[in-house]
Amino acid sequence: MSDDVLVATGVSKTFGHGKNAVEAVKDVSFALAENEVVTVVGESGSGKSTLARMVLGLMPITSGTLTFRGNDVSKMNARGRTEYWKDVQAVFQDPFSAFNQFFTVRRLLARSSRLLDDKVGAERLEEALGHVGFPNPADVLDRFPHELSGGQRQRVMIARALMMRPKLLVADEATSMLDASLRVNVLNVLTDLRKELGMTVLFITHDIGQACYVADRVLVMENGVMVEQGRAEDVIFNPQHEYTRRLLADVPKLHESMNDDSPSRAAASPVPAAPAGASPAGAHVEF
């Protein structure tokens, strides 16, 4: 299809050699359409982050092809990769270690803007900070990381990525270390920007609650294999694959009590939880 931004075909990644070889990603194929939020979910060690690194060109692919707007990006040289990063940007998990603690935000962002012309860089910087809720760039630019909250740091990181006006933003567990209230704010920023800037977002998370909130489509990974992919509604509320079903059954619910949450809680049985979609008991908080 023409409006697919990124297409992965049979992508694999093997670490090590011979009997120590570990296949972290096995024969994964998917496509990201323009303006779409796609979430990759899976447990720790399922290969989600390896996949993200390969998409970002931070790690060579063992086999398979990855095309970005029709160009093969699996075998890029250094210059090609620099060009690629003008279109594909990332936000990582840990907003505490992603900053040089001795640099102000201004200096940090200036380093990233070296990918751009000086003049364009300054303009984009203000624009990008505006997008993530810093209407007064001066408020934040001369601050050191320790003067910002985790959510603010993560927003600066998003602004850093946005300066390139990327076509594709890869967010690898970008909200996992934030408190619930900050997390929804950052997720709202991501989804709003997608609409405003026509960006595609590849959102990697282990948290199905977050996937359910932001995703158009969901890809499920287990031990390096992509076991299921489809529209978020279908995958989350009507999972087909055995693994996805088990994963969803184990996710604790907030408003729907689980089957084994009966008065005799301790008699916990391995029965899966009630299918999501059952009407929640009791009154709700008003929204």
Partner: protein
Amino acid sequence: MTNRLLNAENLRAAYRTPDGKQVFAVDDISVYINEGEVLGVAGESGSGKSTLGAILSLTTRPPLYVESGTLEIDGKRQELGERSKIPRTWRGSVVSLLPQGAMNSISPTQRVRDLVFDVMRAHDRSIKRDEALDRARDRLKSLDLPVRVLDSYPHQLSGGMKQRTVTIISTLLNPRLLIADEPTSALDVSSQKALIDMLLQMLEQKIMSGVVFITHDLPVLRTVSDRIAIMYAGKIVEVGDAEEITERPRHPYAAALLSAVLVPEPRYREMRVFGIPGSPPNLLNPPSGCRFHPRCGVSYPECETEAPPHVGDELRFSKCFWAKKHPGESVPLKAVTSDRLEEADPIGHDPRPAESEQHDDMDGPAPAGRAEGREVSTGGVSA
């Protein structure tokens, strides 16, 4: 008639800074637990949940000092304070702590059985190795876990299995009360569920009589707890039955926090969720009156000056003027949440306290994220 297991009253504990200031991370909190009960404690990073766990488990260490409070477990009373002598036997056998990141506490060069013997010997000098191991073996059998873990090295066990093993070791002495601090945070959902099921099974078998379950993960608390306490800035703002709290929170902060929790339920596909405007206060200089009033959209003038009233009894209450004046109403969420980012997370002169003091009091989602790479089971590759 249920018996009271724990009466902890007027707990106050402060971190002392090098320049002589005191940061009260737990400020005049009372906690009551009935026999057989699981009390969940929730709150954002820096709200004092782990500090509360440290006080209840008698494991406070400098720079954290307990300033005052009383602890009564099973009728045995203990004054807490700087000079109070707590009998050594209390730790581990009356109260036991399952600390954050406990699964990484098994020595990588020793088998699990060596840790079992170490722990048992620390409490009973005369215990024989075989006795200690027999006890652990019986415990594993009664919980339907494989006995072979005793002969394993930690790297041979998955993250979930390690966490269950440490949980069993921390309860070998049959403590009356177990304090579990973020026990499930670094685990994937299936291991989380297994650990929760095991804890409830242990409670059923009366291995311990009560659990304080500390986590920032509200859906987990809803599954495991009988009652949930919500903490904010060193205070408990609301306590109630798990279902009551999750469905009908009375305190504006509790309501806003709960509304920001994302779970895979169909309605989250449709609606937009908002965060709480403002940032948590710096505890060096907490706001007067109700500590939530600067961020609260339904506050009254008295919220700024007077301590909020206690609405309810000692097991179920909310501390809030609004809740007192509006019995039976649900909190108007529009008033206590905000969609504007510059409002929701303003740049203040004080950065959030919790995150700058992360060293040994790691809190909130941080350990989960940190440990994730490490937690990968026997495969040895963190993907």
